[in-house]
């Protein structure tokens, strides 16, 4: 079974802090994604990566950056957290040529 893990289930940070969310997948998938999930808005893509050190902006990249130094790990960085970044963050991975994305359990981030 594919396993996608996220470093924290719950996180509370203060406004202005730098925040790192980590995601690791164990199936050698080429593609990885970061989404945020908000009630009534579904999932919105923040960034995705199709290879090591490669990244592309999704629909809502403002205020976020990403890092993919190793194939199995994809990090989401909030350079200066703001209250409007309070949300559930979901990581996913996808094998090349496949259609099925595998999701991690999510990190619920609260910025106060």
């Amino acid at each position: 079974d594919v396993k996608v893990t996220q470093s924290s289930r719950y996180l509370v940070k203060r406004t202005g802090e730098k925040v790192f969310l980590e995601c690791v997948q164990d199936m050698d998938h080429e593609n990885m994604f970061w989404y945020r999930q908000d009630p009534g808005l579904g999932l919105r893509l923040i960034y995705f990566s199709y290879d090591v050190k490669m990244k592309e902006k999704g629909d809502i990249p403002e205020g976020y950056s990403v890092s993919r130094e190793k194939k199995e790990r994809f990090s989401l960085i909030l350079e200066s957290a703001s209250t409007n970044q309070t949300s559930m963050y979901l990581c996913a991975s996808l094998a090349g040529g496949s259609d099925e994305q595998y999701f991690g359990p999510g990190t619920r981030l609260t910025v106060t």
Binding site: R9, L43, R44, G58, L90, D99
Partner: protein
């Protein structure tokens, strides 16, 4: 622009009754359509997909979905609901400009009462 609509925020159904969760889409060309489910405190899990072929697609946990091109719909169905089916369901369509990117609907909460 490509989009997915889930017109119902919540669907309530009694255990043992059939259920339908609605989804309509707007894309140019042939759509790649997906259903995902999110159980409480869990990530999303893939249920089923439509790429081409039969309009009735069967997936995990006894779910199926019917693709209707003329109505641009992809409704999720199950003949007999279980209390354990209570979850948040998302419809998604693959973006035409990417082989990776999914566009998700807003989600529908299914509540199956005993």
């Amino acid at each position: 622009a490509q989009s997915v609509a889930q017109p119902e925020d919540q669907v309530n159904v009694a255990e043992g009754n059939p259920l339908t969760v609605k989804c309509t889409y707007s894309v140019s060309g042939n759509p790649y359509l997906f259903w995902y489910v999110q159980y409480p405190n869990r990530g999303l899990q893939f249920l089923l997909k439509y790429i081409t072929g039969d309009n009735l697609v069967k997936g995990s946990y006894g779910f199926e979905a019917e693709f209707n091109k003329s109505q641009t719909s992809f409704h999720l169905k199950k003949p007999s609901a279980l209390v354990s089916d209570s979850a948040l369901y998302f419809c998604a369509v693959r973006a035409m400009d990417s082989s990776y990117k999914l566009i998700f609907g807003s989600g529908t909460r299914l509540l199956v009462r005993p």
